[in-house]
Amino acid sequence: MFKILKKEYLANNIWLMDVEAPRVAKSCQPGQFVIVKMDEKGERIPLTVCDYDREKGIVTIVFQKVGASTNEMAEYEVGETFMDFVGPLGCASELLDLTEEELKKEKLLFVCGGVGTAPVYPQVKWMKEHGIDVDVIIGARTKDILILEDAMRDIAANLYIATDDGSYGFKGNVCDQINELVKNQGKEYTRVIAIGPMIMMKFVAQLTKELKIPTIVSMNPIMVDGTGMCGACRLQVGDEIKFACVDGPEFNGHLVDFDQAMQRQRMYQSEEGRAVLRQQEGDTHHGGCGNCNG
C-alpha cells in the first residue's frame, strides 16, 4: 500500500499528490513515469513523475481529472493509500546521457502545456542542479489555469508565459511564443523539449522542423501493463513501430505520427464516456446508448 502524504489543488482540475513509494523514489529519473492503481478493481493509470525526494522516499505525481478513474483519484485524501504504485517505467530523458560539457554547449528550450508542465518540472530542476541554464515556455488558454508557475520561475533561466487570450504574459499560443523568441528576438536553441497535449506537441514539432531545431516530445498513449507486454501504447515513429512504455515515453518529435497517435488515444472514448455517466448518475444511469428510451 502506498500512502498519500500531501494533496494540493493546482488549477483547472489538476491535482498534485506526494506519495510514499521508497523503491520508486530511490531510482526514478526525469522523463520516467509510474503506474497507479487505486484499488482492487481500478485501472492501471500511467502518470509522469513530477518530483521525487530520494531521502524521504516520496514521489510527486500530478494528474488532471479527465475521466472516471481520475475523478475518483481526486477524491483520495491525505493518509489514504493507493493499492498499487509501480515504477519507474520507461526511459529517462536522453539529455541525462549527455556529459556535462556536452550539456553546457546546448541551449535548451522546454515548452509545456497543461498538465504536461508537471513532467517538465523535474527535467528543468535536474538541469538547474547540474548548472545548466534553460528557457521554459508555459502555455495556457487563460491565466487561471496555469500550474507550477512559481516553482518553474525558481529554476528556469527565463520563464515565458503564453496565454491564448492574452490574460497573462505573451498573447498567443506556445508556437507564437517560439516564433517570437526565435524569429523576432533572435534567440538560438539547439534543442526543444515539448510536453503537453498531443495537439500542442504536434504543432510545436511542425514548427521546430521548419526552424530545424531537434525536438523531443513525451508521448502519453493508452497503456495497460506499462512494462512492454501488451503493445497498446505502440506508435509510428518514422518507419518503425515503437512501444512508448519501454522505448519511450520520449521520442524524436519530428518522426512521431501524431495524427495516428491522437486517433489511437480515442480508442476507448465511448467506454470512458459511459463510465463517467455511470459515476455521475449512479443507479439511475442508463448507459446513454439511446436504445432503451430511458
Partner: protein, 462 residues
C-alpha cells in the same frame, strides 16, 4: 463404477452452447469415485515411461497408486515433492504429448488420464486444506526470484523447501505471471486455482513483492551487492508482442493477444464492476494458431463476438493443443486455415472495417520441418471484421538484459542459460522459462525453474 480398462473414464464438461456465454471453467474434472476408477487403470509399471515424459519428473505411478486407494493427502504429498503447481499443470499441461504419450496403456486403448488425476488430487487437497510441507530449518541464504510466473514460482518453491530465504519480485500488481494475465478464467480459474497455488508457495515461506520492476526500480547487481541476495533467478517471461508489419495494423480495433487477454484476465474487463474497458468487437479475427490464439478467440466469443481464427498453415500444423482446438470448434469458432492477412482495412475514423486475406497452399518443408505455406496467386478476399487480434508470439523484453552487465543474450535476444542448471554468463545469476527459450509452455518453464533451483542449490552449497 464399471470401467472398460481400455477406455479412460470420461471427464464431465460444460455444454458447448452454455459455456460459450460464460467465463466458468469448461472442464469440470473428476469426482473421487471417477478418479479412483481411472487410477485403477494404471498398471504401475516397474520402469515408468510416463515419468520420463514429464518435464518435472513427477513420480506419476507413485501418486496414482495412492489415489487408487483413495488416499488424497498421500497422493498430494507425492506430487508436491516435484511440482509447486499441480492444480495448474493438471489443467494446462499438454499431457497428450508428454506423460500420457508414453503411457503403456496407450499402445492398446486410451492412455491413463494422468492430467485429470493430477488435477483431481490438487483440487481435493485444496478443498481439504492440505498444504505442502515446509522446510524444517532455514540455511540462512537469500535468493531473489524475478517474476512470479510458472518458472519463478517453481524455482522459489523448490528453494524454499531446501531452506532458502526466497523473495519473488513481480512487476505487475498481481502474482502468477501468465497464469494471471494470459490464460483465461474458463481454462484456469484465478481465485480458486491460481491464487490458491500461489498461497501454497507462500506457505513454504516464500515472500512475494509485487509492483517491483527489476531493471528499473532496482537492478540485478543491486540485488546481489546491496540487498544481500546470494543468487538471482530470472524468470521474467516472454515480453513484447509481435505484429505482422502489414498496412493498417495500428488502426483502432487491432490488438495484440497479450493486450486483449490482459484486459480480460488480469484487469477483469469482462466484469463491469472493474474499471478497465475492453473493446470486445462483434466480428473478430484472431491471427495465429497457438494456444494463445485459441484463448483470445474463446475470450472474444464469450464477450459476444463472432470469431474467426486465421492461420496460414493447415489444421495439422496448428501449434495449439488438440483439446483447445476441439473446444474452440465445439463452441462455434470458425477456422480459416491456409489463409494469411495482407492488409487491415481502415475507415475514415481510424477503425478497422475489414481485413484482406490471401489463400495459401503448402509447399516444401521449411527449416522447422513443417511444409511452408505459399500464396495462391489471385486468391485475395476480404474478411468482414471490426476487430483483429494478433497472436503471433513475442520477442524478449529488454528490461533486464539491457540493465545487467555481463549477462549474455543470443541472436534472438533471449538470455543464454545452461539447460541443466539455468546458469547464465554472470556469476550467481540463473535464468529459465520464456526469458530463455522464447514463448513456450507453462510446464517447460516449470522444468526450467526446477533445474535452476537445483543449479542454485549446488552453487550455494559449494
Amino acid at each position: 463404477m464399471e470401467v472398460d480398462v481400455l477406455k479412460r473414464v470420461p471427464v464431465r464438461e460444460q455444454e458447448p452452447k452454455v459455456r460459450a456465454a460464460n467465463f466458468e471453467e469448461v472442464c469440470l474434472g473428476y469426482n473421487k469415485e471417477e478418479a479412483m476408477a481411472e487410477a485403477a487403470r494404471c498398471i504401475q509399471c516397474k520402469n515408468p515411461q510416463c515419468v520420463k515424459g514429464c518435464p518435472v519428473n513427477i513420480d506419476i505411478p507413485g501418486f496414482i497408486g495412492e489415489l487408487k486407494e483413495g488416499k488424497v493427502e498421500e497422493a498430494y504429498q507425492v506430487i508436491s515433492k516435484f511440482s509447486a503447481l499441480p492444480a495448474v499443470c493438471g489443467r494446462v499441461c499438454p499431457q497428450e504429448s508428454q506423460c500420457e504419450a508414453k503411457c503403456i496403456r496407450g499402445i492398446k486403448g486410451d492412455a491413463v488420464s494422468i492430467g485429470k488425476l493430477e488435477r483431481f488430487t490438487a483440487d481435493a487437497a485444496r478443498e481439504a486444506g492440505i498444504k505442502p510441507v515446509k522446510a524444517e530449518t532455514m540455511n540462512g541464504k537469500k535468493v531473489a526470484v524475478i517474476g512470479s510466473g510458472p518458472a519463478g514460482l517453481t524455482c522459489a518453491g523448490d528453494l524454499a523447501k531446501l531452506g532458502y530465504d526466497v523473495t519473488i519480485f513481480e512487476a505487475l500488481h498481481k502474482a502468477g505471471g501468465v497464469l494471471s494475465y494470459g490464460i483465461p478464467e474458463f481454462r484456469l480459474p484465478k481465485t480458486e486455482v491460481v491464487d490458491a497455488e500461489v498461497e501454497n508457495v507462500k506457505s513454504l515461506g516464500v515472500k512475494i513483492e509485487t509492483n517491483v520492476v527489476i531493471g528499473k526500480a532496482i537492478t540485478i547487481d543491486e540485488l546481489l551487492n546491496e540487498e544481500g541476495f546470494d543468487a538471482v533467478f530470472i524468470g521474467s517471461g516472454a515480453g513484447l508482442p509481435k505484429f505482422m508489419g502489414i498496412p493498417g495494423e495500428n488502426a483502432n480495433g487491432v490488438f495484440s493477444a497479450n493486450e486483449y487477454l490482459t484486459r480480460s484476465n488480469l484487469m477483469k474487463a469482462f466484469d463491469d464492476s472493474y474499471a478497465t474497458p475492453i473493446a470486445a468487437g462483434s466480428k473478430v479475427a484472431v491471427v495465429g494458431g497457438g494456444n494463445v490464439a485459441m484463448d483470445a478467440a474463446r475470450t472474444a466469443l464469450r464477450l459476444g463476438a463472432d470469431v474467426h481464427i486465421v492461420y496460414r498453415r493447415s489444421e495439422e500444423e496448428l501449434p495449439a493443443r488438440v483439446e483447445e482446438v476441439h473446444h474452440a470448434k465445439e463452441e462455434g469458432i470458425i477456422f480459416d486455415l491456409l489463409t494469411n492477412p495482407t492488409e487491415i482495412l481502415v475507415d475514415d475514423e481510424g477503425n478497422v472495417k475489414g481485413m484482406t486475406c490471401i489463400r495459401m497452399e503448402l509447399g516444401e518443408p521449411d527449416e522447422s520441418g513443417r511444409r511452408r505455406p505459399v500464396e495462391v496467386a489471385g486468391s485475395e478476399f476480404t474478411l468482414d471484421v471490426d476487430t483483429v487480434i494478433m497472436s503471433l508470439g513475442t520477442s524478449p523484453n529488454p528490461l533486464i538484459s539491457s540493465t545487467t552487465e555481463g549477462l549474455d543474450i543470443n541472436r534472438w535476444k533471449c538470455i543464454v542459460a545452461e539447460e541443466e542448471t539455468g546458469e547464465t554468463s554472470k556469476a550467481g545469476v540463473y535464468a529459465g522459462g520464456d526469458a530463455v527459450t522464447g514463448a513456450a509452455t507453462v510446464i517447460l518453464a516449470m522444468g526450467a525453474g526446477k533445474a535452476a533451483a537445483k543449479g542454485i542449490h549446488e552453487f550455494l552449497s559449494k
